[in-house]
Subunit: 111 residues, 2 copies
């Protein structure tokens, strides 16, 4: 048993990726949006370290494997149509490769 | 001028959709993940009411148009690779059609 709900498992086994939002478990700051396939979600559940599917590199990606900026997963939620995940994490260092805490550090000005 | 950064505009004009995370501006709770096309992002910027692209209904969708549960947009951020948006919103009523505050109300148990 993987512990993955059947609605999500069936999507992943169909080859779909699922969007995963990482949120800082302490501050509530939204850190990044990444993608998971079945293998990455299973690894995340097994290791409690956020592991994604890199669409650009086409491979499994343990967040922090090169930067050391790991995400320890405290809890995972899925949404009402079972096509997105919310991970609450303890972030080591910065989530963004630019050094910013969050990848969402660029503002669009509202008029 | 739309006010949309060129990296995002070029994606949207290429026909791509962009993921949009809605977060409660007061509580920090992540409410939902939805999608935007160019028209919906322009409408969102013009009206300051979150407007998405419904992939299931294949049409523009003013959040709250049927439920009354509008999202007043306080700020918008985009991420470092310009393929996701973060909207900080004042949510009227529940974000989720189930009546839950957040669409992310289903937990995946960690071992």
């Amino acid at each position: 048993m993987t512990g993955i709900p059947s609605e999500i498992l069936s999507r992943l086994q169909n080859g779909d990726l699922i969007a995963a939002i990482a949120q800082d478990a302490s501050t509530g700051e939204v850190l990044m949006l990444a993608w998971m396939n079945e293998e990455s979600l299973i690894k995340t559940l097994q290791t409690k370290q956020a592991t994604y599917w890199s669409r650009s590199r086409n491979k499994i990606w343990l967040k922090g494997e090169s930067s050391g900026h790991f995400q320890e997963v405290k809890s995972i939620f899925f949404d009402c149509d079972a096509d997105a995940l919310l991970l609450k994490v303890n972030q080591t260092g910065a989530a963004c490769h630019t050094g910013e805490v969050s990848c969402f550090h660029n503002k669009i000005e509202l008029k």
